[in-house]
């Protein structure tokens, strides 16, 4: 089964990325990534640029609406995602608990929807 870990981060966490990679934010993520890869669970995933760089578009009643910034106006914003191959939700929650963001932000675990995908891709 594949699960997405959706990583939610605070403005402070986004700000702490700006260093040269020797900070504990990067160190913790590097180690977490390695542990995921070596356990065989890692399928894919990436961090996202800071929320300010987002642009949100929607078309309503035939009119385009474009908005600066992310879609949701919340304190903690989507900062990245990881796709994992694991036997169960229990295992996914264990990995989510080890995710550095679990202790400074939040991690949402969601199963991917392969049936929906198949209908779309076919």
């Amino acid at each position: 089964m594949q699960f997405a870990l959706l990583i939610y981060e605070s403005p402070q966490a986004f700000a702490s990325r700006k260093s040269d990679g020797t900070d504990s934010y990067t160190g913790a993520w590097r180690a977490y990534h390695k542990a995921l890869v070596e356990s065989g669970a890692f399928v894919g995933g990436d961090p996202l640029e800071i929320p300010d760089t987002g642009t949100t578009i929607r078309i309503k009643d035939g009119k385009r609406g474009v908005q600066d910034g992310p879609y949701a106006d919340t304190k903690e914003q989507l900062g990245g995602f990881t796709i994992l191959e694991l036997p169960s939700l229990d295992a996914a929650l264990e990995w989510a608990a080890r995710c550095p963001a679990a202790s400074y932000g939040a991690v949402e675990v969601r199963p991917l929807a392969p049936d929906t995908k198949r209908r779309i891709v076919e």
Partner: protein, 411 residues
């Protein structure tokens, strides 16, 4: 009625719910052979108390009042259901029992039977601890779910299923016969220790909101068990183990919240009364001359506690206790513990050899293994391998303080 009186009544309900929940559920369960039914009846009784007590005053014997009210709920329920079940005769006896005012003020403590039911071999071992936390301690499914990293809805369903199984499979509410006792008791002790372990790991205190932490709840359960089942060496062994660990709670983090490993903790921050109590239990347990895993684990903690007096750690003694533990039942945790102790006593090389002998498959997600491995590789000057092992340990760490500690060591 004044607001003050109402507050008093509400506090009284809360207090009885807190202190007597397990005893009431146990008593009602033994009568009906149905834990879920007993819990429902008690919840209803507690709800009624919230209206009645502020109005009529807190009864002289609140437990007896709740028992009477719970019985009435059960009678109503059975009248509605008109169920015919194997336990019906008992039920009739129970519900038609003595007039409601005469509920014995000192109704028998049946929690021991309930503990054995919760850890019954017919119940999924993963549910032993959650069942105990709910039925004996009255913890709600949401809190239990957080402790076990399970979605609250799922935990709720699993608890319901387990209780249905208890009722439908006819699991008997009884203290096992002597020849079965050691094995059945071990399951109870394991379940209590599992609760302690979760509370112990929860240094961030996520679990502590609105009540005692799980570690304290587990110690309390251990004390209840000892009181109900005196003369069992392993019960005292478990209690000694938990008390030794609990004694060090304040020493596990420095003033800035940084992780402090056991061998670097300041013994002045350890609780002497808890250590002394632990030692007393361990000494009494050893008099029965029936060694077991919990006594051995407590003995290891006792050696660590000894540093408070002697200033040094007898690693050879710790390694020996781990060796005995692994002879009883080897686990990855104990083999890792043995490796760490052996490394301190006889050199990093010896410890690493023990780690190398553990199958890689088994440790791919076991954090302490990688932390010990990293440390030993570092001592041996194998820095590239040490860095890789540190990364695994950091990546598998759940506690941010432990993660920070290892990140510093890795540099």
């Amino acid at each position: 009625m004044s607001g003050g009186e109402e507050d008093k009544a509400h506090r009284a309900v809360e207090r009885v719910a807190r202190e007597s929940y397990g005893r009431l559920v146990a008593y009602l369960s033994v009568q009906t052979q149905d834990v879920a039914g007993a819990e429902d009846a008690l919840s209803e009784a507690l709800l009624r108390a919230l209206t009645a007590w502020p109005r009529d005053g807190v009864p002289q014997n609140p437990e007896a009042w709740l028992l009477t009210a719970a019985r009435r709920s059960l009678i109503d329920f059975f009248r509605h259901q008109k169920v015919v079940s194997a336990s019906e005769p008992d039920l009739l006896l129970f519900t038609q029992g003595p007039a409601e005012t005469s509920v014995e003020p000192n109704f028998p403590d049946e929690r021991l039977k309930l503990l054995f039911v919760c850890a019954h071999p017919a119940i999924d071992p993963a549910m032993h601890t959650p069942l105990m936390l709910q039925t004996v301690l009255g913890l709600d499914a949401i809190r239990i779910a957080s402790a076990f990293l399970v979605p609250p809805k799922t935990m709720g369903q699993r608890l319901v299923r387990a209780k249905t199984k208890i009722r439908d499979a006819g699991i008997r509410f009884e203290v096992p016969e002597k020849h079965q006792l050691p094995e059945r008791l071990e399951a109870v002790l394991e379940a209590i220790y599992a609760a302690f372990g979760i509370g112990w790991d929860d240094m961030a205190g996520v679990d502590q909101r609105g009540g005692r932490g799980l570690a304290e709840e587990a110690i309390w359960l251990g004390r209840v068990l000892l009181q109900l089942l005196p003369g069992e060496a392993e019960v005292q062994g478990l209690l000694a183990l938990m008390l030794h660990c609990e004694a060090r709670r304040d020493a596990r983090r420095d003033r800035d919240g940084r992780y402090v490993p056991l061998s670097e903790q300041d013994p002045k921050l350890w609780s002497i009364p808890l250590i002394e109590e632990a030692e007393r239990h361990l000494a009494e347990a050893s008099r029965y001359e029936r060694p077991g895993r919990f006594q051995l684990e407590a003995a290891i903690q006792s050696v660590h506690a000894e540093r408070g007096r002697s200033g040094r750690i007898e690693w050879a003694a710790i390694a020996q206790f781990y060796e005995q533990l692994n002879r009883i039942s080897p686990t990855i945790g104990r083999r890792t513990g043995y490796a760490a102790a052996l490394a301190e006593a006889n050199g990093a090389e010896k410890g690493l050899a023990v780690l190398d002998a553990i199958e890689q498959e088994a440790v791919s997600a076991y954090q302490p293994y990688w932390a010990v491995r990293a440390h030993l590789l570092e001592l041996l000057g194998r820095n590239t391998e040490a860095t890789r092992a540190y990364d695994r340990a950091i990546g598998l760490a759940e506690d941010p303080a432990v993660r920070e500690f290892l990140l510093k060591k890795r540099r």
